[in-house]
């Protein structure tokens, strides 16, 4: 189930392969072309790119924008699986630790599928096979039958520790919130747990992961402040960041203005200044979330250039690939929904 690295760390090899992959990512010109196309043209365009094999393989099962979406996620999974295949030692551990976000996704997909009574086949279709869970384990998860069995199966993974308590809460409340939060928190808290070393790339890597946790905490705090939900911060607060302490979060969630001021006064204030200005005037958080994504992407890109032989370029590639998938999907779905080119361009995050 969980692959253990057998060789030593090999950042040089992985990074040279990653550079080649990175060069294949869509650039501004490709996006400009895509935005002018309809959904079927996008699918055709993808057939002429590296997504060809996925589009062809899935063409008989899906059509239209669904085909594009499934092809994108399958291609992304293939690329991330390659990263794990190439890497060894500490490099593997760090990449795997980051890619476990897809294990978290698959665990949540299992819970949601079992909860809503979806078939094992439907659950398996929605998996993104980019994490550490192998096909056999995912098949067992999809066929678990009950949420309790799925929780038992996940025992021994990084989610195993937090799930039993969350399952008890789930049984009391009847909603998946505790299980989903437990899975996501386990992922984020594990990100920093396994990082050791005092060299400069490791320090910056830790800084990057902290930024990601801080951004996640900030967006969740703002969402809760907007919703007015009375939630115990321990349920959604992710430890490891520097922006909030749990007590600060409890205090700030009740007052959105203070929350915005707190973020503005933090070390992220300058980067997020425009988004925070927008947030003060608009009710929607979407612009702010875009700004967070963009900031994270820029941050990872900066790290990649500063330390070319470290985990940083790989991390930068993972984020860039994820963003490419999200951008292409946004264009295709946006076109399907009849959004204008301007509206779609606003939704794209291109760095």
């Amino acid at each position: 189930m969980v692959r253990v690295s057998a060789t030593g760390s090999n950042p040089e090899y992985v990074n040279s392969r990653v550079r080649a992959r990175r060069a294949k990512l869509f650039d501004d010109e490709d996006y400009r072309k895509l935005v002018r196309m309809g959904p079927s043209e996008i699918a055709r365009f993808m057939e002429e790119t590296e997504y060809e094999s996925e589009v062809n393989a899935l063409g008989s099962r899906h059509s239209g924008v669904d085909l594009i979406e499934y092809a994108l996620t399958r291609n992304m999974a293939k690329h991330f699986d390659d990263l794990l295949r190439w890497s060894g030692g500490e490099m593997y551990d760090r990449i795997a630790s980051y890619l476990r976000k897809f294990d978290a996704w698959n665990a949540k997909t299992t819970f949601r599928g079992l909860y809503s009574g979806a078939s094992a086949e439907e659950i398996e279709t929605d998996y993104i096979r980019a994490g550490e869970f192998d096909d056999r384990f995912l098949e067992r998860l999809a066929n678990a039958g009950t949420i309790e069995d799925a929780v038992e199966l996940l025992d021994g993974t990084l989610f195993g520790e937090s799930l039993p308590a969350a399952f008890e809460e789930y049984e009391e409340t009847g909603v998946l919130v505790p299980l989903e939060n437990a899975v996501d928190r386990a992922f984020y808290e594990n990100l920093l747990g396994g990082v050791s070393g005092s060299d400069e790339p490791t320090k910056l890597y830790v800084e990057f992961l902290q930024a990601e946790i801080d951004f996640r905490n900030a967006r969740n705090a703002l969402r809760l402040a907007r919703s007015g939900a009375d939630m115990d911060p321990s349920e959604y607060y992710i430890e490891g960041g520097e922006l909030f302490t749990p007590n600060e979060l409890v205090r700030l969630v009740g007052n959105r203005d203070q929350l915005v001021t707190h973020i503005r006064d933090s070390k992220y204030g300058d980067e997020l200044s425009n988004a925070l200005d927008e947030l003060e005037t608009a009710d929607s958080l979407i612009g702010f979330e875009h700004a967070l994504d963009r900031a994270l992407l820029e941050y990872s890109r900066g790290l990649s250039s500063r330390f070319p032989i470290s985990i940083c370029p790989v991390l930068g590639y993972v984020l860039a690939k994820e963003r490419e998938v999200e951008n292409i999907r946004a264009v295709a779905r946006g076109k399907e929904a009849g959004l204008s080119e301007e509206e779609i361009n606003e939704e794209l995050v291109i760095v």
């Binding site: 924008v65 669904d66 979406e69 996620t73 978290a104 996704w105 949540k108 997909t109 819970f111 949601r112 599928g113 909860y115 809503s116 979806a118 929605d126 009847g174 909603v175 998946l176 919130v177 299980l179 989903e180 939060n181 899975v183 996501d184 928190r185 984020y188 996640r216 967006r219 969740n220 703002l222 969402r223 809760l224 907007r226 919703s227 007015g228 939900a229 009375d230 939630m231 349920e235 959604y236 992710i238 929607s284 958080l285 979407i286 702010f288 979330e289 999200e326 999907r329 946004a330 295709a332 779905r333 946006g334 399907e336 929904a337 959004l339 779609i344 939704e347």
Partner: protein, 230 residues
Amino acid sequence: MAKDVKPTRKELMQIEDRIELSERGHDTLEQKRDGLIMEFMDILDQAQDVRENVEGNYETAQKKIDMARAMEGDVSVRGAAAALKEHPEITTESHNIMGVVVPQIESSKVQKSLDERGYGVVGTSARIDEAAEAYEELLDSIILAAEVETAMKKMLDEIEKTKRRVNALEFKLLPELYTNQEYIEQKLEEQEREEIFRMKKIKAKKEEEEAEDRATEEAEAEQDRLTADD
């Protein structure tokens, strides 16, 4: 005029009673119809606002879900939607507007806070929140529209029914009753006139017979007197 109308006083009295009742009913129904129309106009204004709201909310919700599907992916949105089995509770009661029973739909647990929507907070985004929120608002406005539009339909049916009744009374029943009343009155008058005429005839005949009897008696008396004189 009804064919089976008997031109009798009893029938006339019955018809007069029916006319009185029908006129009273007609006035009451007319008042009811006017009242219903006024109530209907109020509900119509409300229904127009509610309908506009539903249309606006539907457009917003559709846009938000399109955006959420575009940015988060269809699988993600479907997954978030699957994380909640609980349905909003809808209870219906009824209340009375001028005799029309209209539904009053009460809904609970439609608008939810972030912790009640089923999906986890940590791994989802504001796009999904906003789409869920927009659909909650849409559902609320649909429930209100269902209440108002059902009330409007029922009021409209009742107005139609009342109008038909008023018209039936005004243009069918009452004119028929008036015609029957007139017919019976004319018949009775005619019978009365015939009776008077008959009585007069009898009286004249009686007087004639009496005069004849008297003349016969007088002739006989004269005869007797002449016989006695002889």
